[in-house]
Symmetry: none
Subunit: 206 residues, 4 copies
DNA sequence: CATGAATGAGTTTTCATTCAT
DNA sequence: GATGAATGAAAACTCATTCAT
């Protein structure tokens, strides 16, 4: 009656499969990755995958949700002990800077392919917009706080500003998806930081 | 021994095929579009397609190159008779505003899917970056002009600023790929315009 | 624009595929027959089959419907010029006798497997009962005519009697599905004929 | 070194497995039932099944043999204390009537599917015909007795008549496999009883 | 002993590409 | 030249059976 392998074992295996699959997806893309690719990469059998996930698509969706959830959660965690709005936004830019272009490209290609995939599937579209909404709301709250404390200019539309913040970030990442060196990218982030602060602070942002 | 069909006929047909294929690719994506879809949409034979293009992939690549070239060319054309940098940039924002979300989404999904596709193929990556470079250079020249005339603040890095410009534009489009209404999107463009002008003008952008 | 092969060619091919598939289904059963079996038997490609039929199941269903339709139609045709009820029923028994056990077994195993298959699929169940209903109605009409002309006893329930007629026929076939010689089977039909006539005629059936 | 588990325990378990498997086979059919279905239904492990049966097929065959044996044995038992042939045959009809259509359908689909299965395997065909032979012989003996006592008409061929008896019964069941209500079915049995008695009794069966 | 995770050959179905007509 | 039927190599997914724990 009792299972021969522990719950922990199963979760570990499940995680290992997801990781292996992610590796393949980032390398070749979701559509182009075959289940055989994943199987070969992991050195397990096809059946093993299907005993943990009901389809290739399910793996993909869970993976995307894990990623999105993790991102939002980790940010929320970080910010518990960071009161100033300015500081928080600076922290976010620091985080962007901390990511190498290599990592960024992997993350971004996964992210974009999934968006395109979700865009054709109403069921996923909604799921996705919820997550995107969380990220927007997250920065929006920071901005609102900053507006109340007077750190940020009072006539901002916090929601709009949050959207713009993410637009700049995502758009910049997009610029460097295909080409560019880490140093250039770092400078571009610096400059985008300036633009954003010029926009959210009163005066000329200096 | 004149050719049975004129050169013009062939070019027309070729263009018609590309157009039909583009329609399908934007609707379902490159990978998900079958040659049969295209054939059905165009009402021609499979053989016809393969006598103009050697593979589905080739159609895709040519199409993407056409699109990219057309965008850059059309902008260049427009600007011959528009001297002021500020005016030109305003014109660009106007153009963004002029595009409905529906059109934007179609264009964007094609664009993104192709970027992802190109990202895995060195040969295409280079081609793509050339095009992207043209768009950057294009706005960069506008900014440089503006800096010289004093319209824009003198301490800008024109190349960086151009990149930021496109980042904002692309990032904003990305925000609205999956969800959002046309009016919201219009307001977001307005706001991004403000942010960009705040950044490129001296003072607070007002 | 015009197809390169005639409509007749396509219908012929379609029929050939159905015939080949039927051969395999009768030999191994529907579930046990693989598409590869059919392909191998016909010497065509897998794709060819799927360009004529959308699935293995569809082939099966069409085949069954053809068979059922053909049976009912052929009987109806025969009987246009056969006025007497007794004569008609005798003719039916003659027809049963005319079929060799080999043929019967093929027909019956196909028939039974399809019934079982249909029994698990509500959509097919209805289709099937319609056909079965036709066969019942067919004999029922014969019986009703016979009752009116006085050939058959007046206190029969024509519908019930028709059902019994087919029960005897099907049940007998079932008896010989697995074993038995043609001669025995012929005698059994003779005897069943006697039983049925004893039942539908007045008196003792002699 | 006595066995860890008693012989009785093993037999019980074995029987329980067969019963659970039967439940699944009647519900979905042999081919469509997976070992996982059985395991899930019984709440035991896959290994347990394979320690009692060497394959899914073996379970199926044993099950069928058990069923067939049980049917014949139970009838033989019942009839020890029932002298009259007429009474015995009436009893058989009563038994048929006693079975609901639901039960009948389950029994019949199992029975038919196994016949079809056996029809393709010479080894099973023989086994099956032995059992079928027992059922025939069983009714045949009743008829012979009846003929001797003068209950039934003297010019019957007892073997043939027995076959016809079963034909009527099986054929009728077949009629109601896919559709029909219990009441109709009951009436059909009544009527088939009349037909059979008309046939085996002297005169007009009244 | 019992368990159930793992295996991998086998299944149906798809679709870019070819080539006889 | 144009056509579209035919090809067949993949692809995703299933499931009877095994065997390490």
């Amino acid at each position: 009656m009792s299972p021969k392998v522990s719950q922990a074992y199963k979760e570990g295996k499940r995680a290992a499969i997801l990781e292996g699959a992610l590796h393949c997806f980032t390398e070749k893309g979701f559509q182009a990755t075959t289940v055989d690719d994943i199987v070969r990469h992991l050195g397990i059998s096809k059946g093993a995958i299907y005993s943990y996930f009901s389809s290739k698509e399910e793996m993909y969706i869970e993976m995307a949700e894990d990623k999105m959830g993790a991102m939002v959660d980790s940010l929320s965690e970080q910010f518990k002990s960071m009161p100033s709005a300015k500081e928080r936004i600076l922290y976010l830019f620091g985080r962007f800077r901390g990511q190498s272009l290599g990592e960024l490209r992997q993350w971004l290609s996964f992210h974009l392919e999934f968006m395109l995939y979700a865009a054709r599937q109403p069921r996923l579209t909604e799921r996705w917009t919820q997550y995107a909404g969380k990220a927007i709301a997250f920065v929006q709250r920071i901005i609102e706080t900053g507006m109340q404390t007077g750190e940020l200019r009072a006539d901002l539309d916090a929601a709009q500003a949050s959207r713009l913040f993410w637009s700049v970030r995502d758009g910049l990442a997009l610029q460097y998806l295909l080409a560019g060196a880490d140093t250039e990218y770092g400078q571009a982030i610096d400059e985008s930081e300036k633009m954003v602060f010029r926009y959210i602070l009163g005066g000329d942002g200096s």
